[in-house]
Symmetry: C2
Subunit: 128 residues, 2 copies
DNA sequence: GTCGTTGCAAAGCGTTTGCAGCCTA
DNA sequence: TAGGCTGCAAACGCTTTGCAACGAC
């Protein structure tokens, strides 16, 4: 089921990507990570960003944020349960604390619930 | 902003696609629509499915259902406000009636709310 | 007969992968 | 030095588009 998992090395590229994600207060996409990472390592390629994203996902350091109709974003793992807000104007995604909870009553007969995802849409404070 | 919008024609392909969507009790993807459509019009191509999906979307006959991390699905327009359930096992998506509502309190200061999307995950009745 | 539509193949776009050289440990 | 990592370019999967033939009205 699982590969022997090689010994990871701390390259400047990997460090730059991990720090970019940890320092951000909102989830970031591969292209944004490339731009930020290139401030430290100008030669960095997009393929490297993707490979490190996948490595960090597998080691559990970051989480994939998937919103309807958009390519995935990534944020630090270990944030508490939260949801996301997508600004209709600037397109940025923000973390939202809290959760309405109590969604089980919505389920049809015989269905079981293991998780949920909520995305809010509107204008962020900068764009409102 | 908007093209003069040509006079649409009722081809067998378009009819088959529209009927497949209207007859389904759950949202369908392009590949599924191709398979169903080919029962009526075996020569149908995937490009035709996509072109008709987009035409039906613009004329407001169908709605795009976008779930996190999956390609879009399509369902009849005019269904009342609802959400979606994604089965972890079979991968199918089902419509869910009802809505928790009252999500405004979750917003940070200065943010405005125009809409929301909720996706539930778990096992459907067949897979539970 | 017009002109919207179709099938096919090529092009786009975001993501993944093969490969040879590079660099961390 | 070994072998994981990187940059580059080719490959992929899904969707769109150019083009010539087709067919609805």
């Amino acid at each position: 089921m699982s590969e022997p998992a090689p010994q990871p090395r701390n390259t400047r590229q990997r460090t730059a990507i991990r720090e970019a994600i940890d320092a951000s207060d909102r989830p970031l996409g591969p292209q944004e990570l490339l731009e930020i990472g290139r401030r430290d390592v100008p030669s960095m390629s997009l393929a490297t960003v993707y490979r490190n994203i996948n490595a960090l996902l597998e080691e559990g350091a970051i989480t994939k944020v998937e919103l309807p109709g958009q390519p995935p974003l990534y944020e630090s793992a270990g944030l508490k349960h939260h949801h996301h807000f997508h600004c209709d104007k600037c397109g940025r995604v923000f973390d939202i604390e809290g959760c309405p909870g109590n969604l089980k009553p919505l389920l049809p007969e015989g269905f079981t619930l293991t998780g949920h995802e909520i995305t809010l849409y509107g204008r962020c404070a900068d764009c409102a």
